[in-house]
Amino acid sequence: MADILGTFEQAVLLAVVRLDDEAYGRAILKEVQARLQREVAAGAVHATLGRLEQKGLLVSRLGPGTEVRAGRPRRFYTVSASGRRALNDARAAANNLWRGFRWPLKGSYERTEASTLG
């Protein structure tokens, strides 16, 4: 299994999956902010996108600019096969950790029989 992704990395990767063909810097920033329900610095998203691309979890291509951007190009991102695998691994790891618990947690009595492995 590859390195487990951090929460913010998962948020960025899932934003790219959700936005599909429209996944470029600003759109990803807004999607991450909406999902995490907090202000996120553009620099944080930019640094994460760069790191994920370096790890081979994302690929990017340049697209044309628009007038509101003063003609500056947009960089569009796509999740690679490794990126999808990493997201699936992260989800599986979280599911394993939570297996057998009712959510939201209230007390130890919320544990079910299936909460122990083996």
Binding site: A44, R69, R72
Partner: protein
């Protein structure tokens, strides 16, 4: 009607912080958000403040490691001078001065190599010393709060006094700028070769 624009100097500053690969796309993303979302909702003044905070975020992300190293070495030196005062400061001064020079040269080199611009090294030197000055003020304040008995106060006086401890990190901005420029120049050459 003219489209609203963020402060020109801030946009220029941001370009120096970015690699050539990201220079247009990232500044374009921020300009788009500024014009389509932030400016219509918050007005010129608040939108400019938002833009500056984003640029500061990029500057901090690019230089926090160097600022942490610089402030760490300064605070360590201060703690040693206050709590383990030497009879002669020469060796400590020698080590801490050259360590600071090396850190600022590295900060400039890293920025210059990443962006291919000498000016990025200059900005890295300024940003590193400014962030470091803030951390140093907090750190030395904490040292003083932890221990301020008579022998410590005497050691502080003997090592140059409180004023020096709080002003020296700020005074490093000028040499930091020059060393950042030298590092940036070397970094730019390294990128091209």
């Amino acid at each position: 009607m003219n489209e609203p624009k963020p402060p020109r100097w801030a946009e220029t500053f941001l370009r120096f912080l970015l690699s050539p690969r990201d220079r247009l796309t990232v500044t374009g993303d921020l300009l788009e958000e500024y014009r389509e979302n932030i400016h219509p909702q918050r007005g010129q003044r608040e939108a400019d403040r938002w833009y500056l905070s984003q640029v500061a975020g990029f500057a901090f992300r690019g230089n926090w490691l160097w600022a942490a190293l610089l402030s760490g070495s300064f605070i360590t030196r201060t703690a040693l001078d206050w709590f383990v005062p030497p009879s002669d400061f020469y060796m400590r001064s020698f080590v801490s001065t050259w360590l600071a020079v090396a850190i600022l040269l590295c900060a400039g080199f890293w920025a210059g190599r990443q962006s291919g611009l000498l000016r990025s090294g200059v900005l890295a030197g300024i940003a590193t010393t400014l962030f470091s000055a803030v951390i140093c003020a907090v750190g030395t304040g904490c040292l003083l709060a932890i221990r301020h008995d008579a022998p410590t106060l005497a050691a502080i006086q003997g090592s140059g006094g409180l004023a020096e401890v709080f002003t020296l990190p700020v005074m490093l901005v000028l040499p930091g700028t020059l060393l950042g420029a030298v590092g940036g120049l070397i970094g730019r050459i390294a990128r091209r070769s």
